[in-house]
């Protein structure tokens, strides 16, 4: 089992509903966020192109954050989901430094917090909050090892990229382009 997410940059309208859904679902403190939307504009008018990316923790296969954690608080759960155990985290900040995606932050309570792929929902067979609220249905969440899952099909038929693959992290969020 290997959970992953594919996000269609051509369908995304940048409404930030995924961000609000995450903040609500996971009780993210005000001023913080586990996911965010980036708008990249290339070119000069009238020849401009735009890319909208809803970004979050990439739940990497080769996670620098899990590797550098001195206490084992950052760890892999079933399906490769990277989760922080708050009772083990000492708040040293090493994982925040190690993440090329700046997906982690220091929670006001001291521990380090980040996207969990809404593991509490996934365990019940539900989609993560961001995926379930997306009004354009531009996000696909599923098991990469299941040949019939929606994400495997969409990645089979579309071109996609991941962020900073040269970092060697083997990120598991794929952007359809």
């Amino acid at each position: 089992m290997r959970y992953a997410m594919a996000i269609d940059t051509r369908k995304c309208v940048g409404c930030s509903d995924c961000v609000v859904a995450c903040q609500t679902e996971n009780n993210v403190p005000v001023g913080f966020c586990r996911d965010w939307v980036v708008e990249v504009v290339d070119g000069t008018y009238p020849n401009v192109s735009i890319e909208l990316r809803s970004e979050r923790c990439n739940h990497c296969n080769n996670s620098p954050c899990v590797r550098c954690c001195p206490t084992g608080a950052s760890h892999f759960e079933d399906g490769g989901i990277v989760v922080v155990n708050y009772n083990k985290c000492i708040g040293c900040g090493a994982c925040i430094e190690s993440c090329p995606y700046e997906a982690r932050y220091s929670h006001p309570d001291g521990y380090v917090d980040k996207c969990t792929f809404c593991i509490h929902r996934v365990r019940q067979g539900l989609d993560p909050a961001c995926v379930s609220v997306c009004p354009t249905k531009c996000m696909y969440f599923g098991d990469m090892d299941d040949p019939n899952s929606g994400i495997v099909n969409v990645l089979k038929n579309r071109k996609f990229k991941s962020l900073a693959p040269e970092a060697g992290t083997k990120p598991q969020i794929f952007y359809l382009v």
Binding site: G31, E97, C99
Partner: protein, 313 residues
């Protein structure tokens, strides 16, 4: 032209717009760790060479400072933690993959060794000292007899501790400025140089100062070579690395780096030490203090600048 912005809004404290999660505590600790490693390395080496009495400050006096430096360093690391009450979790796990994890263990070994070492010399330096408990005297006699046995692991661990202060940073592949294998040796050499500076500062023996001065000049030359090497490597690297190097070669860190680290912290004290060896009278405090300040600023700049550098996507 390319423009990027957060349309959902994102301004997380200490992360946006630039990562700044490690503040003054980490570079200060790296400085103290390197300094302690330098002093213990020289103390160990000269003991193994059988020169305890010729190099009195190196072997006996300067190591007295090390337990204080290490404990203060550990305290600074503790201050840096944001989930402080859980700090003991560090010592419930052994994670060799995590530089911070094995660094914590190296410190756990190094601090007691340094305490035992300096305690074994305390009676020699303060003849009126009394251990109060009989068993401590028994231990002391054993340690004094077997100093060589302690000197070996102490020297080796000193090198590990010194290199570790660099590897702690170089293991982060997400920070292009840090992610270079030269950083470990560079921090080790710089730490040894600051250790030598402390010894020169404390030593009252002209001959000992001369020996440490010579060693220090060599260390500074190696350090300058490593720094050149560091930037050569970056300039031949990827764009992320070129951007990292440019922070120091024209960017916002250029002036403090070249003024306080390269010139005032390395070249100028080296010239002063060479002049001193040539027979000119130069107060020992000048080169030593400049090296110490340079070493401290060097670590502040590398930690601060490294957090700004990142992958481009």
């Amino acid at each position: 032209m390319r423009e990027e912005l957060f349309v959902s809004g994102r301004n997380i404290p200490n992360i946006d717009p630039y990562l700044n999660i490690w503040h003054w505590q980490i570079p200060s600790y790296l400085f103290l760790g390197g300094l302690a490693a330098g002093i213990l390395f020289f103390a160990g080496v000269f003991t193994i060479m059988g020169k305890e009495n010729k190099m009195k400050t190196t072997v006996k006096v300067a190591p007295m400072l090390v337990p204080f430096a290490l404990i203060l360093g550990l305290f600074l690391l503790f201050l840096d933690l944001k989930h402080k009450l859980y700090f003991w979790q560090l010592y419930t796990t052994i994670r060799l993959e995590s530089p911070m994890g094995w660094g914590a263990w190296v410190l756990m070994i190094m601090t007691p060794i340094s305490i035992i070492w300096s305690a074994s010399y305390i009676k020699e330096l303060f003849p009126a000292w009394d251990w109060k408990f009989g068993f401590l005297n028994t231990y002391e006699t054993w340690v004094i007899k077997n100093r060589i046995l302690i000197a070996w692991p102490m020297t080796i661990y000193a090198v590990i501790l010194g290199i570790y202060t660099g590897i702690l940073l170089s293991a982060f592949n997400s920070r292009p400025l840090w992610n270079t294998s030269i950083l470990g040796p560079l921090f080790l050499v710089s730490g040894m140089s600051t250790g030598a500076a402390v010894i020169i500062l404390l030593s009252k023996d002209h001959k000992e100062r001369k020996i440490m001065g010579r060693i220090d000049i060599l260390l500074i030359l190696i350090e300058l070579f490593f720094i050149t090497h560091l930037f050569m490597g970056f300039m031949a690297g990827s764009e992320a690395q070129i951007n990292a190097a440019n922070l120091f070669l024209g960017g916002s860190f250029t002036a403090p780096f070249f003024a306080f680290v390269v010139i005032l912290g390395l070249i100028f004290p080296a010239v002063l030490e060479i002049l001193e060896l040539r027979g000119y009278k130069i107060p020992k405090i000048f080169p030593a203090v400049l090296i110490l300040i340079g070493g401290l600023i060097f670590r502040f700049l590398i930690v601060e600048a490294g957090q700004i550098t990142r992958y481009l996507y």
